[in-house]
Structure formats: structure tokens, C-alpha cells
């Protein structure tokens, strides 16, 4: 590709044609503040903090994130004029911003706070009217606080284009603008799949998860409660970031120690039920193949995806595996198998999960997720961020924690379960087991590289005995939509499809540490596959604790009891519910 030469603050850089001035500055190692810009997305040009001076231009300062760099261009990013203009932009933003940093969930990890500090803002120069505050706490997963919103529209970009759910958009204009669901409805009155990708996109504290921290402290402080915790595969490769470790740090055993320090009675692993999922789902898949059941079979472990298909493709619900997600399988076993084994009453067990996900909170609250006397199978769901926060509150020195193992038996798991945390992992884990079950041979190379990696849609054909299994994997709902459209048009001849709601899979889930971007996703993904390599057992059906579970309790995969406890059903949901009145328009 042709290159162009640009001078930035006197530094010459050669960059590909089509780059923006911001790209050029970055190539020169020069920092330009940005708020609405997101790497890999088209420029939004909404915030204007990235202003620079272009020599010989029309004189106006330009937004570097969207201004095309040209050959011979001379740019200044550090003049007094630029500095003052950026400062004024941020000061104006702050004048309509509820600045209670200490009480804000994003303090010390806030892009606005960071930029205000870099620009040396020390006072509120423009005090004036504040827009009315809209607090939307209706969703079981996501909280919206308009008083923190700087209208950067990053959440809109993600919700509309990455997830193609289309919940959030700018409503009204000027001072009245709010980022909200259609007609300023609350999230529960709109179509929102609770994925939390908007939370990851938000530079400030305007979007965050509905906290379960208080209820978990309460349970831990209650001497009559036996409080157990499960940790999802993707948490162990991310939680270190909350304590300043680089992305991709493998801290599984420190995490276990940290959770013990804050007072959980037992620290278990969702990976245990991820292995169980493989046996249940693999058996279901083989059954469908044999009995001409509905194909392609779609995986069902990602609750944001479940919400999405219930809203947008209800016709395809019969394709969805009936398996509950590993979180919910764990919850169901916690209050039955585990309760019996320990001789604890199910109502005295408080079951907590640590998830990379905001949709898991909604999932745990679904009314069908109760196997014992109306008790929730999972009582509280903490995001990775919340779990780290509880450790902080408890004074845990995470980085210097010793390594500690999970408790048994619900903490025993294989490498096949760890890779559930990455897009393609469920498929790979299923193939490892299905191959051996069908052929009776030992799989020499357990790595299915074709389904690994961050690409949105992956495909593979795998020979399993005399079956040529055609599989596909998608992560991010825009990619899921592509595959579902193909199925609807009758153009897909896949047997088995894995869908994860969040780009990259759970490792990029809406409950993960911020920032989560492609670089971070990649590092977490490498860590997940390294965890898998490092485990002695890498196939779910070889998990000894799972074998015992079937012998002692469930019988065999897809048995009646397994169906009662580990499988579920789905309900089509109405799109664009119009019975909810739009915002009040005053009429006299």
C-alpha cells in the first residue's frame, strides 16, 4: 500500500494512505486524548477532545480521530491553542457531569477522570444547569446512570453494530440528549440481551453491572449459611488485571486463595459442570444425529445469546440444546447432589458464582432456574470486577497470595472445561469427547486449531468415524446473526454450531475487567489455552469426579434425573413491545 509522510510536532512519520491524523500521532508515539474513539470502529467524532492544529488548513482545529492524514501534512498536537481548546471541551463536559468520583464505580479506571487530570483541570469553570438524572435500575444485569454519561456513543456503536441488538441510541438533541432505549424506555421495557458489551465500551461510570456484592457479604456474615462459590473458566485469566497484573496473567490458584480469604466456605469450579455440559450436550448431539433430530444443534451456555435467540430467532429455539449453562448446572447440583453429600439443607446453602458476564445475573434469576422448593439454584452472581472489588474490600493482597487448589469434588475439572472461556472452546471440548465416544479410539492430537482464534465466524469439517461433522463457531451477536440468517434461508448444512454472545467468547464478557479490547482478548485467550495444556486431563469424559457423579447420582448422561436437573426449555419473546407507553408528552 502507498505510504504518506506526515510531520507531527516536528516528528516525521510514514504511514499508510487512508490513515487518520490520530493514527499518525500514534505512529509517532504522541498521545492524543480520545473519548469517543474506539480502535477498530469507524470514527464517531462526537467528543472533540482529540483536537489538533493542521498547518495551512482553514484555521479551525480538527478532530484527529476522523481527520484524514495527507502527504506533507504538518500537524501540531501540543500548542497552547490546542491545549486550551481540549481543556474547554472537557470542562464543558464536566459542567453537565455529576462529579462524585469517590462514589463512582469507575473511579481510578475512568477515561474522563484520566483526561481531566492530564489536562490539568483543577476547578469547575462553567457551572450551570444539569440535565435531569435518569437512573435505570430496572434490569437485573445493567444499570444506566445518565448523570455520568458524556454522550460519546461508544455503547451505541457496540449495541447497534457489534451486537445488532439495537437497544441504545441517542434520543432527542442538544442539552436534552440522552443515550437510552427507544423513547427513553427502561431497559426491561426494551429489548436488551443483558450482554454488558455497552458496559465494556463506556469510558465512564454511566453503565455498570447491577451489584450483588452486598447480598454476598450478608450471606458470608450469616453463620447459618454454608456459602459456596463457583468460578467460570474465563475469570482466572482476567482477574489479575484488576490488581495491576498484565492481561493474560494466569492466576487461577491465587484467585482460589483470594476467595477463601474473603470468607467462602468452599471454593469450587464452574469447569466441573462445563465438563458435565460436554457429556450432556455431546450425548444430546449424538442422539439428534441418530434419530434425525433438529439440526444444526446450537449451543446454549451463553445467556446473552439465549436472550438474543428468544427475541430475534424464536423459530430456531428447537435447534437450541436443552442443556442449561454450566453456571446453572452447578447451581442445580449444589442444592441437590452436594447438599445431600454434605448433609446440609438446600435452604442453608448460599450459592454464588463469579462470572465474566452480566447476562448471568439475569439467567440466575429466571424462574425456571430452580430445582428445589422455589430456591434459586444460584443465589448471587458476581462479575469478575465485583469479585475483585470484594477482595479489595477485604484487604486481600492479591498479587502476593499463595497458590491454593480448588475444593473437591466440585472443583475437579479438565482442560476441555477451561477452554469454554474462549470462542470455539465448547466446540473443541465437545469434539474431543464425541470423537472418542463414537470411534472408541484415543484422540492423539486434542487441539482443534480450526475453531480457535478471534475471528467472528469459524468453520470446520471434522471426520468422526463415518460422520463428516460440519461445525461452525460464532462469537459476537452480529456474527451469530449471520449464521442464523443462513439457517433461516436454508443455506446452512452445519451439524453443530457454537455461539457465544460476546466477541471472543466469555473472555471478552461484559463482566470482565476494563479495558477489554482485542489486544487484551488475545492475551486472555493465550492464557486459556495455556491453562488447558497445563492440565493433566484434557477430555471431559475422563474427569473422575464427573464419573463419580453419574455413578452416585445421575445415572447416565441425558437420564431422567439429568433431564430434570440439568436441562431446560426456552420461551419466545416479543420484539419491540409497544404496549409500554412512550415518554409522557405534555398535552393540555
Amino acid at each position: 500500500m502507498d505510504n504518506i509522510n506526515v510531520s507531527i510536532d516536528g516528528i516525521q512519520v510514514s504511514i499508510p494512505k487512508g490513515s487518520t491524523v490520530l493514527d499518525a500521532a500514534r505512529a509517532a508515539g504522541i498521545y492524543i486524548p480520545t473519548l469517543c474513539h474506539m480502535d477498530g470502529h469507524k470514527p464517531l467524532g462526537a467528543c472533540r477532545v482529540c483536537l489538533v492544529e493542521i498547518e495551512g488548513g482553514r484555521g479551525a482545529l480538527q478532530a484527529s480521530c476522523s481527520f484524514p492524514a495527507a502527504d506533507g501534512m504538518v500537524v501540531r498536537t501540543n500548542s497552547r491553542r490546542v491545549h486550551n481548546a481540549r481543556k474547554a471541551v472537557v470542562e464543558l463536559m464536566l459542567s453537565a457531569h455529576r462529579q462524585d468520583c469517590n462514589a463512582c464505580n469507575r473511579t481510578l479506571n475512568c477515561e474522563l477522570q484520566d483526561i481531566a487530570k492530564r489536562l490539568g483541570i483543577r476547578e469547575n469553570r462553567f457551572e450551570g444547569e444539569m440535565p435531569p438524572r435518569i437512573m435505570d435500575t430496572s434490569s437485573p444485569s445493567i444499570v444506566r446512570d445518565s448523570s455520568k454519561c458524556i454522550l460519546c456513543r461508544r455503547c451505541v456503536e457496540v449495541c447497534q453494530n457489534v451486537q445488532t441488538v439495537g437497544t441504545l441510541f441517542a434520543v432527542d438533541r442538544g442539552f436534552d440528549t440522552v443515550i437510552a432505549p427507544t423513547a427513553k424506555k427502561e431497559l426491561t421495557e426494551a429489548v436488551c440481551v443483558a450482554c454488558g458489551q455497552c458496559v465494556l465500551a463506556c469510558p465512564v461510570g454511566a453503565l455498570y453491572e447491577k451489584s450483588h456484592i452486598d447480598r454476598v457479604w450478608e450471606a458470608i456474615d450469616d453463620p447459618d449459611k454454608h456459602v459456596i462459590v463457583q468460578t467460570a473458566p474465563a475469570v482466572r485469566v482476567a482477574i489479575g488485571e484488576e490488581f495491576g497484573l498484565p492481561a493474560g496473567s494466569r492466576v487461577t490458584k491465587k484467585m482460589v486463595a483470594g476467595l477463601r480469604r474473603i470468607g467462602f466456605d468452599k471454593v469450587f469450579d464452574t469447569d466441573f459442570t462445563a465438563d458435565l455440559t460436554i457429556l450432556e450436550e455431546g450425548t444430546e448431539f449424538l442422539g439428534r444425529l441418530k434419530n434425525n433430530g433438529t439440526l444444526p444443534m446450537l449451543t446454549s451456555c451463553s445467556p446473552g445469546w439465549i436472550n438474543f435467540i428468544e427475541y430475534f430467532y424464536p423459530e430456531l429455539l428447537p435447534n437450541l440444546s436443552t442443556c442449561k449453562s454450566p453456571q446453572q448446572m452447578f447451581g442445580a447440583l449444589a442444592k441437590t447432589y452436594y447438599a445431600e453429600k454434605m448433609g446440609v439443607k438446600p435452604e442453608d446453602i448460599y450459592s454464588v458464582s463469579i462470572m465474566p458476564c452480566t447476562a448471568k445475573k439475569l439467567e440466575a434469576g429466571r424462574e425456571e432456574m430452580s430445582v428445589v422448593n422455589g430456591l434459586h439454584d444460584v443465589d448471587a452472581v458476581l462479575t469478575t470486577r465485583e469479585a475483585a472489588q470484594m477482595m479489595r474490600e477485604a484487604g486481600v493482597d492479591f498479587v502476593n497470595l499463595p497458590d491454593e487448589p480448588f475444593d473437591e469434588p466440585l472443583g475437579i475439572a479438565t482442560g476441555a472445561a477451561v477452554i469454554f472461556g474462549a470462542t470455539g472452546g465448547v466446540m473443541e471440548a465437545a469434539l474431543r469427547t464425541v470423537y472418542e465416544v463414537v470411534t472408541g479410539e484415543t484422540l492423539e492430537n486434542v487441539n482443534f486449531e480450526a475453531v480457535r482464534g478471534l475471528e467472528g465466524v469459524k468453520e470446520a469439517v471434522v471426520k468422526i468415524g463415518d460422520i463428516e461433522a460440519k461445525v461452525a463457531v460464532a462469537s459476537g451477536l452480529s456474527n451469530a446473526r449471520k449464521l442464523m440468517d443462513l439457517i433461516m434461508e436454508g443455506k446452512a448444512d452445519y451439524h453443530f454450531i457454537e455461539i457465544m454472545c460476546c466477541p471472543g467468547g466469555c473472555l471478552g464478557g461484559g463482566g470482565q475487567p476494563i479495558p477489554t479490547n482485542d489486544e487484551v482478548r488475545k492475551a486472555r485467550m493465550e492464557a486459556i489455552y495455556a491453562e488447558d495444556e497445563g492440565l493433566p486431563i484434557r477430555k471431559s469424559h475422563e474427569n473422575p469426579a464427573i464419573r463419580t457423579l453419574y455413578e452416585e447420582f445421575l445415572g447416565e448422561p441425558n437420564s431422567h434425573k439429568a433431564h430434570q436437573l440439568l436441562h431446560t426449555h426456552y420461551t419466545p419473546k416479543a420484539l419491540w413491545p409497544t404496549d409500554v407507553p412512550l415518554d409522557e408528552v405534555k398535552t393540555k
Binding site: Q160, T164, V165, G166, T167, L168, F169, A170, V171, D172, R173, P181, T182, A183, A190, W576, T578, L582, V585, K586, T587, K588
Partner: protein, 170 residues
């Protein structure tokens, strides 16, 4: 779906689809489509926005967000006559606040409201390009400039609903 052929003013899905077809079935025609809907039905209803979104393959929030961005597009039924007052700096400096008060006094409604009989909707808008004759208002497509508060009752009288017995607002 088929147009219902009745005289009701609620747009049928078929009417909306016809408008989409007329303007062009692509996202970039969204604004012409919204204009056309408003011309035909007086405002853009929730149902119309949903149909347009489905027809164009975009999200309802996008259609609604676009419609609410433009002050000249209405998402609620409006009065028969629409009074717009500019409150941009030129009109403001020339006393638009007094004009606004006079309208409120004459009709008993604040900006953003509609009279009970549905005859007038009153709203404050940004510059209408009438700075030369500030302060200015528009009633429907008619322009009134160089206004004083005293001139308001007479202007509004021209649009008053008839008070005869037919009840039709003739």
C-alpha cells in the same frame, strides 16, 4: 396487508410500506421517509417507526433516535396549527421571550403543549433563518416577523377554530 380504505387518520401498515417504496428502500432515505410520513399523517407514530425499521432492516431505536433529533419531526399527534417561535440569539435579543409570553397568555399553553381543543401546538425551535425580521414566529408555513407582543392575538385569531355548532372544527 391491505389498506383499510376507511377515512381514519391512523396509518395502516400498507400505507407506510407504500411510502417506504416511494422514497426508496434504503437506510439513507430514512429522513425523506420520515418527512413523507409526517406529511401524510401529521406525525410519526410508534407503529410507523416500527414498520419503517423493519422495512429498512434497521433498529427501531435508530429510527426513533433520528426522528427525535429533528425538531421539525413529530412523534406525537400535533395540533391542527403549529406555532413555532425561534429562541436563537438574534430573536432572543430582539425580545422573543415577550412574544412567547404573549402566546402563552393568549392560548393558555406553554411551549411543547397542545391546546385542549387540538387546534394549536406551540413550540420553541432553533433558528428558522428569519433573523432579518427577528423576533419571528411561524404558524404552519406562514411567517410573521418584526413582532410585538400586541400583534399576537390578531395573528392567532386567523387560525382560531370555528365556534359554530357543527363541532367539526370547520
Amino acid at each position: 396487508m391491505k389498506s383499510c380504505n376507511s377515512d381514519c387518520c391512523v396509518p395502516c401498515e400498507a400505507d407506510i410500506v407504500a411510502i417506504v417504496d416511494k422514497c426508496g428502500r434504503t437506510e439513507c432515505n430514512l429522513i425523506p421517509i420520515l418527512h413523507e410520513l409526517q406529511r401524510s399523517f401529521g406525525y410519526i407514530s410508534d407503529e410507523a417507526m416500527e414498520t419503517v425499521a423493519a422495512e429498512l432492516g434497521i433498529t427501531v431505536s435508530q429510527v426513533h433516535g433520528t426522528a427525535t433529533f429533528y425538531t421539525l419531526l413529530y412523534t406525537r399527534p400535533q395540533g391542527k396549527n403549529i406555532i413555532k417561535i425561534c429562541d436563537s440569539p438574534p430573536c432572543h435579543l430582539q425580545g422573543s421571550k415577550a412574544i412567547q409570553a404573549a402566546i402563552t397568555k393568549a392560548l393558555g399553553i406553554e411551549p411543547g403543549e397542545t391546546t385542549l381543543d387540538g387546534n394549536f401546538t406551540f413550540e420553541v425551535v432553533s433558528c428558522m433563518g428569519l433573523c432579518g425580521v427577528a423576533p419571528a414566529i411561524m404558524v404552519n408555513d406562514d411567517v410573521y416577523g418584526n413582532l410585538t407582543a400586541e400583534a399576537i392575538p390578531e395573528i392567532l385569531d386567523k387560525y382560531a377554530a370555528c365556534s359554530c355548532c357543527c363541532g367539526e372544527g370547520c
